[in-house]
């Protein structure tokens, strides 16, 4: 099967300084970030430090808009602008990892002097010409490339790995370093360049974040914090099988989609049901391919939900078991798949006891450990679809055994899922910490599935822990802070 191979277009490594004197437009920014990637194989270590550069642009309110992935895990940020050799210290105001956008500011008032906030436009027409501005590989100074709008569609955003939003595909060259740079048409920003397609599988495919996504981000942070995208957490399917339409009591009129999975614990749980036929969303008729008329175009039905905020609701007209019904789904929670999204700007959580390293199961853990263990991979892949998260909000894994006489027989338990500790059920890393700290001569750990318990003598384990920590160069035995 063909699998899309997206890459984030941050330019890795520091490039030399630049002095440019381009007259137009006056709000382009080059961002140089020093970041520290957390290490989920050694969760206690600070992580390796690396540098990267990207692009950005000034918007109203003395703010700089760029991609989240340009400033993720950053420890030190500088920005420079065209025609000014100075480097200014910048800081992150807001970051939205689910739509790969970030807002920065510079405290030095000199920086914004002479810059012009770039105004925003709408969705450019298919085949109309756009220009991409930024600081990609191939030189130090500002680069401009030009192309046409190729396609407007929903696409996965590779930064988080689980989100998909409206995306505009253009055929202008977008290369590493372009990330966060503006895409202009008639002097207005119509998108933010953010990802491309690997040259091995496609040519001249670049993606930009369109203005509805940007506008939603700017609106969301107006109250001082970013609440994330809300999600109805259902799967819906085209309704074009004639027998299916007839059996569900739907006329042969190319309208309506049917609801498959309603994810337990999601916003629609208790409101929509598998087999419901959605005929309209917020009054807009839903075609049998799942699109609705919006902004003079047919767009994916999800776009209606995409533009909403926490606390809003969505109105559906559905047919359930042959009867019409109006359903209002309150949007009070984000996509429940947070555990499967790449995490940034967080320190890995862990707990070490008697040389046993425990970590919660999450995307970064899976990406770095890449475990073969079938039970563990299953719990990750099916965390939502089999509603495993209802039983255990957090899956705690014995991720490593730091060899020591006290844990000489614990190796066989690596990648085991902790079920109980001293008969206390473990549903989060905090539960584990409490259970371990709550006394008893032995710490008896039972894992999921058949097997023997892992037993540590408390006295021996606690005597060994400081030595193990010092031997392995670990400063703290735990980080429980989310």
């Amino acid at each position: 099967m063909f699998r899309p191979a997206f890459f984030a277009i941050t330019l890795l490594g520091f490039a030399g300084f630049c002095h440019a004197a381009s007259p137009l437009p006056k709000g382009l920014v080059r961002i140089v970030a020093t970041s520290q990637e957390p290490n989920y194989l050694q969760p206690w270590s600070g992580g390796t430090v690396s540098g990267a550069s990207g692009s950005g642009f000034v918007i109203e309110g003395n703010r700089i808009l760029t991609n989240a992935h340009v400033v993720s895990n950053s420890r030190f940020l500088t920005v420079s602008k065209e025609g000014d050799p100075a480097k200014y210290l910048a800081r992150v105001l807001h970051v939205a990892h689910d739509c790969d956008l970030a807002l920065l500011t510079v405290d030095d008032p000199k920086f914004f002097k002479g810059t012009t906030a770039l105004p925003f436009g709408g969705i450019p027409a298919i085949e109309s010409t756009v220009s991409v501005y930024g600081y990609p590989i191939g030189g130090d100074r500002l680069s401009v490339t030009r192309g046409v709008v190729s396609r407007i569609d929903f696409q996965p955003y590779s930064h988080s790995g689980v989100d998909a939003h409206l995306t505009i595909q253009i055929d202008a060259a977008i290369n590493p370093g372009n990330s966060g740079g503006p895409v202009l048409q008639d002097g207005k920003v119509v998108g933010v360049a953010f990802q491309g397609f690997s040259g091995d599988v496609a040519q001249n495919v670049g993606y930009m974040i369109p203005t509805p996504v940007v506008a939603r981000f700017l609106e969301d942070v107006k109250d001082g914090s970013y609440d994330k995208y809300m999600d109805i957490a259902v799967s819906y399917h085209a309704l074009n099988n004639p027998a299916m339409r007839k059996a569900l009591g739907i006329p042969d009129n190319d309208l309506g989609v049917f609801v498959g999975e309603v994810y337990a614990g999601g916003a629609s749980d208790g409101f929509l049901k598998a087999g419901d036929v959605i005929l309209s969303i917020d009054g807009l008729p839903v075609s049998s391919d799942g699109t609705v008329p919006l902004d003079d175009d047919q767009v994916e039905m999800a776009e209606v939900v995409e533009r909403k905020f926490k606390g809003d609701s969505v109105a559906f007209d559905v047919v359930r078991e042959g009867k019409p019904l109006s359903v209002k789904v309150p949007l009070d929670r984000a996509w429940p798949f947070a555990m499967q999204a790449n995490a940034y700007d967080k320190k890995p959580r862990y707990l070490i006891y008697g040389g046993l390293v425990f970590q919660p199961l999450e995307a970064n853990f899976i990406n770095e450990h890449n475990p073969d263990d079938l039970r563990l991979r299953y719990h990750y892949d099916h965390f939502i679809s089999q509603a495993l998260h209802l039983k255990k909000p957090e899956i705690v894994v014995l991720s490593n055994v730091l060899a020591d006489p006290v844990n000489a027989y614990a190796g066989e338990f690596t990648y085991g899922i902790v079920e109980t500790v001293n008969e206390i059920s473990i549903k989060s890393l905090d539960d584990l910490a409490k259970a371990i700290d709550s006394g008893g001569d032995y710490v008896v750990i039972e894992f999921s599935g058949p097997g023997r318990p892992l037993v540590l003598k408390r006295e021996a384990a606690e005597a060994a822990t400081p030595q193990i920590l010092s031997r392995y160069g670990i400063q703290k035995d735990r980080n429980l802070v989310p």
Binding site: S235, H237, A238, L239, N240, N241, P242, A243, M244, K246, A247, L248, F258, G260, E261, A274, G275, D372, L374, R375, R377, Y378, D381, H382, S385, V406, A408, Y409, Y442, V444, G449, P450, G451, R452, P453, V455, L456, K457, A460
Partner: protein, 496 residues
């Protein structure tokens, strides 16, 4: 091109010299050569079913091995050689006389099969093997191979290890003799008899050319197989239905209060198994089996073979032996229980681990293909199937013992044939079926039965996962079914 030519020439000249040598020096009948007269070539044409199109078979391929004629006039080979055979023949090495053959008994867990020529008296005048008695590490043996010219090649071998180990299918652990031997590849087969002092020590089932080690199905296992093969229907090797873990860890021993040495920790007891029926439970510590002390790794001191796994005490018993005693520790108390080990009926498992010689069951309803989950189906994804096969199905197969007791078979939609009835369903596959027309599905027969009673003219199919449900028009699929079978070349829309 040149290289290939050269190779061909070499092979030709080799076989010429070999046959010349054979012609020049007829073999003198010594005692050793007489024993080699019990070796015949067994040629098998194997053809397995294609589980991705369960009505079809895959390409046939030939296999050959060297079989050992036994005193009962039957030929012993490995089960692997005859798995999914559709033609079998026995060939005399020197004369190349052939007879069609048939399988008399086969045990895939023990990797043994008995084969009989269809022609009466075909094996007359050939020799036969007695089974070797006992074995000691260090014994010298010979591995017999058939040369191109029909002569028997003998390669010396030394018995290096005696252990109880998993057999190739990984479904059963039995006694294995490991031999060290510099064996060459002949006849592209490593199904070969190994003899000691003219008697059959075992049958080669695996050979690792890098380490030059050969694994034998040894004579004690062959003897028990032959006893079983005398009865119909064939009943396989007995088991207890439990798994265990070592108690080496001193902290575990201290926590469990294990004062005495030895003992193994029961990690899983399959309900309804002999161990389950005897009320053995997870967490029990087995101390003795059949009066033999079991050490912390599950080994006991066998009078013939030294320290080996205690399961040999069950598998080495006569087929109809009665109960044996198990001494175990629970809640600090030592208790005894009588357990009668029994063979497990593989067809009763949720997902069968192997399905040789059996056509897969399937049921096609309006282009939707329903099958029952088996490991054979998952193996269609190749050597790396645990990672590449549909993960939900892999998980159900791997952890079937943790499913509810009355789960029955896992029926799933293995694929969808695009047709006028399945518009919009084209990509659906590998989805577990929960209900059809409101009837709970625990076997393919349930699907066939439910398909008799559509509701309001529609078949309602419900899945465990997304998209949860779909409908088919009952009258329309009935009207279209001959077209479907014809268009896709399906001889029958069901095999139950």
């Amino acid at each position: 091109m040149k290289k290939i030519l050269l190779l061909c020439l070499l092979t030709l000249s080799c076989s010429l010299t070999a046959s010349q040598a054979a012609a020049a020096k007829p073999p003198a009948p010594t005692e050793n050569q007489a024993s080699a007269k019990g070796v015949v070539r067994v040629n098998s044409t194997n053809q397995s079913y294609d589980y991705t199109r369960p009505w079809d078979k895959k390409n046939p391929f030939p296999r050959r091995g060297a079989g050992a004629i036994l005193e009962n006039g039957l030929v012993l080979v490995t089960a692997e050689l005859v798995a999914n055979h559709n033609h079998l023949e026995i060939e005399k090495p020197l004369t190349a006389d052939k007879s069609t053959a048939e399988v008399v008994a086969v045990d895939y867990d023990a990797n043994l099969a008995l084969v009989k020529p269809v022609k009466a008296d075909f094996l007359k005048g050939l020799g036969s093997f007695q089974l070797a008695e006992g074995a000691r590490v260090g014994d010298s043996a010979e591995i017999l191979q058939i040369e191109n010219n029909g002569e028997i090649a003998r390669t010396p071998a030394t018995l290096t290890t005696i252990a109880v180990a998993p057999y190739p299918l990984d479904s059963l652990s039995l006694l294995v003799f490991k031999l060290s031997s510099p064996l060459q590849s002949r006849d592209s087969s490593f199904v070969l008899p190994a003899i000691r002092e003219g008697k059959l020590l075992g049958l080669l089932m695996r050979y690792d050319a890098r380490t030059q080690t050969a694994d034998l199905v040894p004579s004690p296992v062959i003897r028990r197989f032959l006893e079983r093969a005398e009865k119909t229907p064939y009943i396989g090797f007995s088991r207890l239905g439990l798994s265990f873990s070592s108690t080496r860890d001193p902290q575990l021993r201290s926590y469990l209060g294990l004062a005495q040495p030895g003992g193994i920790y029961l990690t899983e007891v399959i309900p309804e198994s002999p161990a389950g029926l005897a009320d053995l439970r997870r967490g029990d510590i087995i101390l003795e089996v059949d009066g033999q002390a079991v050490d912390q790794d599950g080994l006991y001191e066998d009078p013939d073979f030294g320290k080996i796994l205690f399961t040999h005490l069950l598998t080495s018993r006569e087929p109809n032996a009665g109960p044996l005693s198990i001494k175990y520790l629970r809640d600090g108390k030592t208790q005894d229980v009588e357990v009668t080990p029994k063979p497990i009926d593989p067809t009763k498992s949720v997902s069968e681990s192997h399905t040789f010689d059996k056509p897969p069951r399937y049921f096609i309803l309006g282009g939707l293909i329903f099958q029952e989950l088996s490991r054979t189906f998952l193996r269609e994804w190749g050597a790396n199937w645990t990672k590449t096969a549909p993960q939900r199905l892999v998980y159900l197969d791997a952890f079937q013992s943790e499913l509810p007791k009355d789960r029955g078979k896992i029926v799933f939609l293995s694929g969808t044939l695009p047709s006028p009835d399945t518009i919009g369903y084209e990509g659906l596959n590998n989805l577990v079926i929960t209900r059809v027309n409101g009837i709970e599905i625990k076997s393919l027969d349930d699907v066939a039965k439910a398909a008799q009673s559509p509701e309001n003219g529609f078949h309602k199919i419900e899945f465990e996962e997304d998209p949860k449900l779909l409908f088919l028009d009952a009258n329309q699929i009935e009207a279209n079914k001959e077209n479907l079978a014809r268009d896709y070349g399906i001889p029958a829309l069901q095999r139950l």
